[in-house]
Structure formats: C-alpha cells, structure tokens
Symmetry: C2
Subunit: 229 residues, 2 copies
DNA sequence: CTGCGTCAGATCGTATACAATATCCGCTCA
DNA sequence: TGAGCGGATATTGTATACGATCTGACGCAG
C-alpha cells in the first residue's frame, strides 16, 4: 500500500479524499486492510487524524470498521451492490432531467472536456483513472442540476459503485461504454429533458447489465468462511 | 439542555442516537450549540467519545461543525429543505411500491400498531414523540421493502425533515395528516403496488405543501446577522 | 504428529494533557 | 461616548500515553 498513495497532506479530509481516490481507481482493492499506524506513517500524521479519516469513510460506506480488528476497504455483498445501482437508478434520471433544464454553454464545454480526458485515459489504457473520470461525470450532472444534497449522496454511491465494479465486473478489459455519456451531453445541450432522463435511465441499466449480480455465492468463498456459523 | 436529555449511555453510537432523537422530537432546536464539555457531563464520558458522536451526526447532516467554533444542530437553508423533500420524493414512492409487493401480515400488524401509537401521541398532544413516530413510519416502509441502503439513507433524510419542519412549518399546532399513512397501509395489505406508490407520492407532496418554502429570507433574521457582510 | 494452552507482540480503543484558537470583558484613548 | 485594543477565560484541535483485545507462535502433552 505504501507505493499506492501519493502522501503529503495533513488533514483528515485530505487523507479521506486520497483514500477515496485510491479506492475509486482500484489501487485499493475491496477487503484491503488499512492499518492505522501504516496510514500514519504514509501521511505523517497522528492516529487521531487517521482515525477521523477512517471513520469518515466508514460513514460513506467505503470502509468497514470491525471493533478491535481494524478498518478494511468495504466489500459490498451482492445485495448491497444491487441496492447501490437501484438507488442510483432512482435519483440519477431526475438529475439528468434537471440538468437538461439548467445546463449553460459553460457546463456543456466542461462536460466535453471531461469526456475527452476520459477518452484519453481509455486510449492510454489507464483503467483506474478512466474509471474515476467516468464516475465523476455522473457527479457533475448532479452539480449542474444544482442539487447539492444529491451531489453529495451521489459521490458516495459512485465511489461504492467502483467497489462493486471491482468485485462483480464481468469483462475485466472492457470499459464502460462512453457513447451514452456523449449522447447525454447532446441531450443536455439541446435542453431535451425527456431524452436526457431516458438516456440516463438506460445508461444505468447498461452498467447494471455488465455486472454479474446473480445470486451465486460471493465469488470463491473459503471453506472456513462458509462454515463460520 | 441538561434537562432535555435522558443521560446514561456510554458509547458514541448511543449518544448520537439520543441526540438524534432529541432533534427529531424538537427538544433540540436548529442552531442549538452542542458544547463538548456539556455533553461530556451529561453522559459521563470523555470528550473522545463525544467528538465521535458529533462527527457522526455531522456526516448524517444533523449537525454542523465549524472549525474552532463547535458543533451546532443543523439549520437547513430553504434550498437544502427543498432538496431533502425532493430526494425523498424520488426514493420513497419506489419503496412504497416494493413494500406493497413484500409486506407480510406481520409487517402490516406492526405498521398498524405503529400508527396507533402515533395517534395516541397526537391525542395526548405530545407533539415531539408524534413527529418522531410519524417519521419512523416512513423508515419502516423502506425496511419492509428490504432495502437496507435506502433505509439508512431515509433515516437521515427523515431526521433532517424534522429540522426542516422545526424551521418552516406553517401551522404550529396542526400535525401531519395521518390518514394517508392509514390508506398506505391498506394499499400495502392489498399488495396494490401502483396505489401504494401514488399514495406515497401524494403524501410527500402534502407534507411539502404544509411547509413554507417560498423564497423569502431565511425566517426572521436579526439586523446584526443581516448586516454582517 | 496433532491439538491445545499460554505468552509475547501487534493493533485498536479511550482518556488525558497540552497547544491553538476564539470569545468575552474591561481598559484606554480619541 | 464609542471604537479599538489587549489579556484572561473558555472552548476546540491534536498528540500521546495507557489499557484492552486480538493474533500468531511456541512448546508441551496426548
């Protein structure tokens, strides 16, 4: 893990942000242990601060803290994974609609630049950064819709989606189809709210389809775990 | 504040729960300051624990922490207030639908008992407890829908709704019309998903209508505050 | 050789001490 | 009289020390 993070900052919020980014970009895998002392060493801060950051991430659903055991990058179950995408399906189409009614030329330009960066990352096969940019795109829609509460909520859901993808993505090498992002931006530019809403709904469904969320046991379960009451 | 809380527990989670309940029942008003030492005295724990609880409540949007200033019960702006109810309107109808498809006789009985308790509280004019029970009703729908993520999310939104009500409720003495709760339970009993969804949608709209969320300055602002740059 | 108990090290949880910052009050001076 | 300025006090922020719990290894008995 030492090599995985950039190190430098000092506040709990910054540490949480860097850990979030690492999770989002799959540099930290679900289930990875986050030892307090280790994080202290990396960021050169006291445990007080690190614990603040870890608790913050726990509230956001990115980290699971087991008493007297430690903090681990969360490992969403199949049910939790489904719930994340179900919740997104409930709120994001409405955000796309609202964004279509509010988007300024400046917003559109920003989204286009964003998509270009995403495409560049894909071309360079930088899977992690591409994934993060793809997620951020969705958050930006909420920002354009000027809905702060959902923007905050969506940040969490998108980050958790990254965990779900790490666990349940079917084709490891195929990345999220970015064409729906592009057509969404077109709908936003035209102020076509109905279309934007539909595209977003379909896009989330597409994402869901690329996941393997069938009712199988959570991947390879060790005998030990299977028998643990 | 000393009289307002029951005191006794020891863990951060329990303290957060009691503070949440106090906020939910309007025993703690928006803007109320929560001094760490005071909370320590009340619950007889160290500041470490109290700070954990306060940070937890901050993540849930119930408390605002200003650096070097302290923790205050949150005071949602008009925009935030609208956003809370908009978000609820996006997710709760879907929960009502799902609950209609899953509710067992046991669930129905539980909801009926819940409504009875709510009615009793209203009859006794215990406004706070009635408000809390009314909010819990909505959380129970999500529980019956077996959607843990949204249940958790809704707990936060419902608690924040209590803050919104404290700030923007029009008729102080009139309580939420509980007849829609009753008709919702009927729809759930019949397994009528479409109807349940519609009732919930209408119910949330009703709630919104009882609020004064017009674009006026945030209630009575003191001259001092109004002039402070 | 296997199972179990015990002990040492590692790790987390909590309390407390100290530092940083804000707030309040009284003072001075225009 | 009132605005501006310390300084004492109150309050929060951070680091650290200590205690509790878990983990893994070792050794002994069966």
């Amino acid at each position: 893990m030492s090599v995985i993070l950039k190190a430098k900052p000092a506040t709990a919020a910054e540490i949480a942000a860097q850990l979030t980014e690492a999770i989002h970009e799959h540099r930290l895998q679900p289930g990875a242990k986050l030892r307090e002392d280790e994080v202290c060493d990396i960021f050169q801060v006291s445990r007080t601060i690190v614990r603040q950051a870890l608790h913050s991430l726990e509230h956001k659903g990115l980290v699971t803290i087991l008493r007297n055991k430690g903090a681990f990058v969360a490992k969403p179950s199949l049910k939790e994974a489904r719930e994340v995408f179900e919740t997104r399906s409930l709120i994001e189409p409405a955000m796309a609609r609202a964004a279509a009614l509010r988007a300024t030329p400046h917003d559109i330009a920003f989204l286009e630049a964003h998509m270009k960066a995403e495409q560049d990352a894909i071309d360079r096969e930088e899977v992690g950064p591409a994934l993060k940019l793809s997620g951020d795109f969705h958050v930006q829609i909420a920002r354009i819709a000027d809905h702060h509460l959902i923007e905050t909520l969506l940040k969490q859901l998108v980050a958790r989606s990254a965990l779900v993808i790490a666990l349940y993505w079917r084709r490891r090498n195929a990345l999220c189809d970015s064409s729906s992002h592009s057509s969404l931006v077109n709908a936003l530019r035209d102020g076509d709210a109905d279309n934007a809403e539909e595209i977003m709904k379909g896009h989330l469904l597409d994402l869901l389809m690329q996941l393997d969320l069938r009712d199988s046991p959570t991947g390879p379960v060790s005998l030990r775990d299977a028998l643990k009451k």
